[in-house]
């Protein structure tokens, strides 16, 4: 396919188009295992530019893949069919902060943590910030329906999207939702866009609900000699009257990786549970912290440390945010791959799920660990393996299939926050078998020429290993 580079340069400016092979390779991968080069990369700055690019692409049936930070874990922005990658990081303006309406309006390229820094002077924040918020963009977080560590109390991105402006596949600009919290019946198309992974339109502006920053925060760390005890503790906390603002499980593998790379000084036990409560009254926060502590003790927790020192809490959060990469150093020769990485299970199944993950890893000759925002049922794992060996990919493929078979058997879901894209599509398609037709019908109605992030979600290949070239130097 010949792309009209000259036209694209006219639209966004000479300096905002690249088709050099080295630049194309930059946009061939994200944080997933996949790799596929686009044909050209464009960086629009204005809505009109996005519209013109989309009109051109739709006319010539050229795939368009929207991209933010490229920190996605399952291949969202990997251009599986080539085409145009649209890097939206130049659209990074905070258009309005309206404290009286408790909302803000932002462009898709605004970095999540930057937004929170801008909101801080107003005493407000956008709580549903992913762990990768230091680089992850709002557009990516919406397209993926991210959540982050505080979702247990504050919900996921979908709960904060009041409305948005979207460029559709025909180049038309539509305004969805409203600046209000209440929106009655009628198809809530803004919500449909959340989690659509760039397959239904390009989000060019979002209206986000905000929250007031909590006045008090306290954190606790409980140690457990048995992973099951930690899991049961989390289940009991979720089922209790208390709603913590953070509830995380960290298993022994994650503890080792964090201690090794970041000198976190976590005790080398089978698991730890990190919890946090926040609120307007110190007494109320303390009361909730005490209740959680008692639940931990009931399940044989020991050495529980509770504190509210901002620096120490920041150290723990920071370590947690860097766990994904730290796992790459767990064992020499094993790299951390983002596979089967964020399933969600009913909250009573945390302990069982964590143990299953370890067992499946051992059975398939790879290392799998269990950690995550278990308060909302999200169980993270990663597959640590020798990614240069063909047989390890076969092991990983079996392990992924087994994990998801278990998840489906207990009524869980394939992805709690990282999305589906390519890597998780085979399992997700099994999970959503009876609604795939509905989804395909919606896709067809909004993007009849299938130009927007094609072959992702329900249209992704059935074999994730063979779906694209792998980013690692391995011959399959």
């Amino acid at each position: 396919m010949k792309i009209n580079i000259k036209l694209l340069k006219q639209i966004v400016g000479e300096e905002n188009v690249r088709d050099n092979i080295a630049d194309l390779y930059m946009y061939s991968s994200d944080s997933s295992v996949h790799e596929a080069n686009p044909w050209v990369v464009v960086k629009p700055e204005r809505v009109e530019e996005v519209q013109e690019i989309i009109r051109y692409a739709n006319d010539r049936l050229i795939p368009v893949v929207a991209r933010g930070a490229g920190s996605g874990a399952c291949g969202h922005s990997v251009p599986i069919d080539g085409g145009i990658v649209m890097d939206l990081r130049r659209m990074n303006r905070i258009l309005a902060i309206r404290p009286r309406d408790v909302l803000c309006k932002v462009e898709p390229g605004v970095v999540c943590d930057d937004l929170n820094r801008a909101l801080q002077p107003y005493g407000l924040w956008f709580p549903s910030t992913p762990e990768s918020g230091r680089v992850a963009t709002i557009g990516g977080a919406i397209a993926n329906n991210g959540s982050g560590v505080r979702a247990i109390k504050y919900g996921t991105v979908r709960d904060y999207v009041l409305g948005m402006k979207v460029v559709l596949a025909n180049g038309e600009l539509v305004t969805l939702g409203a600046d209000t919290r209440a929106q009655s019946s009628g198809y809530q198309l803004d919500r449909l866009m959340v989690g659509s992974e760039g397959t239904l339109g390009i989000i060019v502006e979002a209206t986000l609900l905000l929250r007031h920053l909590p006045k008090f925060r306290a954190m606790g760390i409980a140690k457990f000699n048995k992973l099951e005890d930690a899991g049961e503790t989390i289940s009991d906390i979720v089922a209790s009257e208390v709603t913590p603002s953070l509830l995380e499980l960290i298993d022994d593998i994650a503890i080792t990786a964090l201690n090794k790379t970041l000198n976190m000084n976590f005790p080398q036990v089978e698991a730890i549970v990190v919890y946090e409560c926040d609120g307007r009254l110190k007494e109320a926060v303390d009361y909730d912290m005490q209740t959680i502590k008692e639940i931990c003790e009931k399940h044989n927790a020991f050495g529980i440390e509770v504190g509210s020192d901002a620096k120490e809490m920041e150290r723990i959060y920071s370590g947690r945010k860097k766990l994904f990469a730290a796992l790459s150093r767990y064992r020499e020769g094993f790299v951390c791959t983002s596979l089967a990485d964020d399933m969600a299970v009913p909250s009573s199944k945390i302990a069982e799920c964590a143990r299953k993950i370890h067992e499946i890893g051992e059975r398939n000759h790879v290392i799998m660990n269990a950690y995550g925002h278990c308060g909302i049922g999200v169980m993270h794992t990663k597959i640590l393996m020798d990614a240069t060996k063909k047989e390890q990919w076969e092991d990983a493929k079996r392990a992924v299939a087994e994990v998801y078979e278990y998840v489906r058997s207990v009524g869980g879901t394939t992805s709690g926050e990282h999305g589906i894209a390519i890597s998780k599509a085979p399992a997700w398609k099994k999970e959503k078998a009876d609604s795939l037709h509905m989804m395909k019908t919606i896709k067809k109605a909004l993007d009849p020429n299938n130009i927007l992030n094609p072959h992702k979600l329900m249209d992704a290949p059935d074999d994730w290993v063979a779906a694209t070239k792998l980013r690692y130097p391995v011959q399959l």
Partner: protein, 312 residues
Amino acid sequence: MEFSKLNKWLNELNICIRCGYCYEHCPLYKISNWEIDTPRGKLLLTYGLLTGRIKPSSYVAEKLFQCFYCKNCSKSCSAQVSPTDIFTDARTDFLGLGFQVQGTTVKNDEKRCITCGRCVSVCKAKALSMDISNMRVLVDRIKCKGCGVCVAECPVGAMSQKQGFGVSRPELSAKIVGPLAEVRQTPKVIILCCDWSIYPGLRLSRTELTETESPASIIVTVCGGRIDPGLILDTFCRGAWGVMIACCPLGECEHDGNYRAKDRVTLVGKLLDVLGIGSQRLRIEHFATGEDQKLKKAVAGFVSEIKSLGSI
């Protein structure tokens, strides 16, 4: 073997999960906004070269020679990949392949150079040496970290860096013109920051500084040692009421640029006294990484003092 030095890093490059945390504080990415200028992008370049995905070219070589070695990337990487070490080996291989590129490294103009040796004596990276037999200054482009201390120190303007990275003299001057032209903004205070130590904290503070009472304009440079006396005086000539240089604590600068900056502040301060402007309008402060609150307080205090002094 084409990439004899780079080869050993393949496993490290497999370990990199491409999360992108490394580019959060990369000064080069802030300037170009292109993925290829991020540390992640350059790691991909080396990976692409080793795995045959891309071929060596002048374009690729130029990119790999663009790095200020601030190591903000390494500090943010919990996979403990060290991008700058990998870039250094890539540079060696590219020079071995015969590529002639400059990137962010310095260049010596032999026609202007008086071979005084000043640049050689201030280069902590030992990237500069004197070729006695030919009486010329040699630049080791593997060792040069692009700090620009020699550029600021050269008495005849023979050392230079390419434009496009925000550190050449015309670019630094241009950064000053904008904020100073804002007539409503008083007092006119310019903060020249070193991004080796201040930049991450600066980003944390910036919103609050601009949203609240402080009208100071912050300009990021590369190293305090890059700020030459002419630039400081130029800033006053263009209407600044006060100038603060913010750099690393003494003894902690990778280039000893903060010692140079300190000497220059003393020197220029004396000149300001002679001119009747007053040395109190020029200050140097030292901040370690993460001391954003200290920076915020120092800026607010300086702005307040300059406000009471009024315009020049």
